[in-house]
């Protein structure tokens, strides 16, 4: 159940809308559209939700400075560093102000310093818009950013820790 709706009964289109509007996703390798500049990558979920392209870009623009991406709006994914691309992916995930933000190994392809910055941005941004943040990671350093850590081993839950 989410928002009073049974998810398993939803059709393909409704599921797509649910994922787009209620959830945000950050993947290990960003998965940005290579042809689109950063600003349009971030604006895309809003355009898919029915906003005009100009309006979506205006809204997306507001996410660049807080994520340390000022001046990179017109860069394409191939022209940015791994850390910058990942922050653009975070902006794309946040732009619809989702209820839940899923991050699958968000720092898996980054060095320690960049990982720290990405996690800070991810946590702070999620807090600001009031999203729950669910992170999947193999990295204990990344797990320290979380309020609650659930450890899985071979597909089974083996422990739960709540940060002090």
């Amino acid at each position: 159940m989410l928002g009073g709706r049974h998810i398993e009964n939803l059709g393909e289109n409704d599921r797509s809308r649910l994922r787009r509007e209620s959830y945000g996703f950050v993947f290990q390798s960003g998965q940005l559209l290579p042809e689109l500049p950063a600003i349009e990558n971030v604006a895309l979920p809003l355009v898919l939700n029915g906003l005009s392209i100009a309006e979506a870009k205006r809204t997306a623009h507001g996410f660049f400075a807080p994520l340390g991406l000022e001046g990179l709006q017109d860069r394409r994914p191939g022209q940015m560093s791994g850390g910058q691309s990942q922050r653009v992916a975070i902006a794309r995930a946040l732009v619809t102000k989702p209820a839940v933000l899923f991050a699958d190994e968000p720092t898996g392809a980054l060095d320690a310093q960049t990982s720290w910055e990405v996690m800070r941005v991810l946590r702070d941004s999620a807090q600001q818009i009031g999203s729950a943040l669910v992170v999947v990671t193999h990295d204990a350093e990344v797990a320290r950013w979380c309020d609650r850590t659930m450890t899985m081993q071979a597909g089974s839950l083996v422990g739960t820790q709540v940060a002090a």
Partner: protein, 435 residues
Amino acid sequence: MKATARVALMTVRGEGRKALSTFALPVSAFAASTTLLLTVLGGYGAFAGRTSEPESEAYLALAGVASVLMIVPAITLGLAAARLGARRRDERLAALRLIGSTPRQIVALCAAESGVQGLAGALIGALGYFLALPLVALLRFQGRTFEWGELWVGAVPLVGIVFGMTVLAALTSMLGMRQVFVSPLGVTAGNPSAAPKMIFAVAGVGVLLGWSAFGGAAASIAAILVGLGLCFGVVALVGPFVISLLGRIMLRFARDGASLIAARRVLDNPKAVWRTVSGVTMASFVAAGTSLLAAIGNGEGQELQPGQEFLFADMRTGVLFTLGATFTLAAVSSALTQVSGILDNRELYRSLTLAGTPVEVMDSARMRHVRTPVVVMALAGAGAALLFLFPLAGAVVLTTPMALVQLGLTLAVGIALVLASAFAAKPVMRRVLAG
């Protein structure tokens, strides 16, 4: 060399199911390209052999024009085939470079892999040529169908084409490897790579020279071919800019996610889009021009010279065949590019779906990426011919509108064929998303 062979075997095995885009697709493209090349050469040879027929010079000149119109996109498809699945191959080879493979090993690997693809495709294409012979022989020109013997290119040209396709495949992909040497990290990071530019010009000149030599032709035919070659050269230079301009217009008028993505894809690589539509553009231009000329020739009150009774009807048959072949090539090229693009970006498409992008949006973006350039360039080609010939053929346009209707229908069927090829990639997308 042993080490290179071992690495080649390991990497190809490691591709597993992904080998569809890295092997099967380029092979299909080389095969289509070879079949058409051999068929066109056979057809030209048949006209060259009919020297005793009336108007044989005119037929030979027209066959030369039609052949160049079909050969250039066929070779372009061959060149494009060497790049199909190139992104993953480049990533694989760049990774090998990063772990210490020598440039020599990389070049050998690349040449071997692409050469094998070219050879396999050319052999399948030669088989396709044999299978197509009975069908092509049914075409009626100069009042009779072709004998099989007339359409047979001969053993030496056949072997030459198969060998040439193998070398073309190896050379093109080796030239495309420059970025792996310049920046292997850039390749693995997914930076856009610069396509070789000279290869098209060199290939074009080579084709023209080879063609002139093969034709052994009279000065008038050579002049027509050189003129046509120059025309191709100029259009090849201008084409990508026109496509780029079209991309900007598409971007300006983009109103939703699909049209935005389609416009950006056109702008991202206008040369690739041009490669798909260049044959269609030139064929539409010539088709429109020839249709009008045929209509003029068939006009009421025209005195036909002896031997001309078949010429104008044959011109229409030739136009239909040329258009059919170029549109089929464009459709094959488009389908291969689409499938290759989907397979190369499977992880991206899966992630986008997971993040809520409807699959219809991705399908629509793919369709627009093909549809808009094909429709616009086919109409632009035909429109340009009508504009050039209007002073000469204006009255014909007004008095025999059926010529225009026929042309319009032919273009519509051709465009539908290209669009159907893009539509055919839909199941591949579904399979990729299903994992």
